[in-house]
Point group: C2
Chain length 202, copies 2
């Protein structure tokens, strides 16, 4: 095979991979983890089932790769949106917008399906736990930046605040998913906005 | 059948029911939702599988009854422990103790298994969401009592604070379960204790 031929084959492999991941995300969103079989994903992506096993080994590994993909996209968006934020009220407004996007984009559905599966299947548990860590680190960096001059750092370590923020996000999106109702999340953001006034410079 | 005979039969029915529920709780704790088949539960309880279907209809209905039983026990304990609490620091200390008990008693495992299953199986979702409501009402009553005289009620509705507390509990216990690590929860209680000083009477 010529060098150009190998490159073409590699590109085509990576485009098949992307196509399968997108099909896995669509399947998780539409029919959940319980319905996300190799067959269902292959049909949705218009690819041969064998390619799933060739590229990902197992269906669970594909679903984890799909979670990685949606997490990567969302984290990039969170970084872009929150990069310019300097105050707690700005942060809460931006976080509320991002949360609504997470919901609309199906990210929250995918996350819940994978967390649900990992609670039920212990083999997935460490995989999901590991994927929470970049979000805790990101939350910590943002909290450090916006609370740098206020009274918060003396009372709360930013690492603990970040773990609390991530736990609250996970619990809130789980309630949203269970209830098919996002009023709790909206009330939380509105309340946070009012509480932030406590920490605002006088 | 005599009246005494009917009573005996009813008592024996209710004791079989309790025995099956206890076996379901043990099975959920030991092998999770994925392993909690009628067969596994019947073996653990030393009862005939047919009795499960006779008393509960389906395995999912039995598992929901088991969740109700552990929730009822824990809610009674929460009410007894928090009934005498009058200040936010007392509340946080008591909540930390109750959380540790939830963990040790396997309640958190059962809750996670059932939430995990409900995220994956939409038919269970409304059932689980409905079972969150008594906890929100309970949290609201406690928050009303301990914050009555402080500045919090002006800033945050007790209903919103209760939903936030429940979301935080669910997210935190999920992280604990995923990581097999309870340092995040312990750090949260310690932090809450320090933050409460902000709201303490001067």
């Amino acid at each position: 095979m010529t060098r150009a031929g190998r490159r073409e084959r590699r590109d085509s492999g990576s485009s098949t991979r992307r196509r399968i991941i997108d099909a896995a995300l669509e399947t998780l969103t539409a029919v959940g983890f319980a319905g996300a079989s190799a067959r269902a994903i292959a049909e949705r992506g218009g690819v041969n089932q064998a390619l799933i096993f060739y590229h990902f080994g197992t269906v669970n590994d594909l679903l984890l790769a799909a979670l990685d993909e949606t997490s990567r996209r969302r984290l990039a968006q969170y970084e872009a949106t929150l990069g310019g934020v300097r105050t707690v009220p700005e942060l809460l407004d931006a976080a509320a917008r991002l949360y609504r996007e997470d919901l609309a984009a199906g990210h929250i559905t995918v996350l819940n399906e994978m967390i649900g599966a990992s609670l039920t299947y212990p083999a997935l548990r460490a995989e999901i736990a590991r994927r929470v860590e970049p979000w805790v680190r990101f939350a910590e960096a943002v909290i450090d930046r916006v609370t740098g001059d206020g009274p918060l750092p003396e009372l709360v370590s930013s690492h603990d605040a970040a773990r609390t923020a991530v736990a609250l996000y996970l619990g809130m999106q789980m309630l949203t998913h269970l209830n098919a109702d996002d009023t709790a999340a909206e009330a939380l953001f509105a309340t946070g906005r009012r509480l932030a006034s406590l920490f605002a410079a006088p």
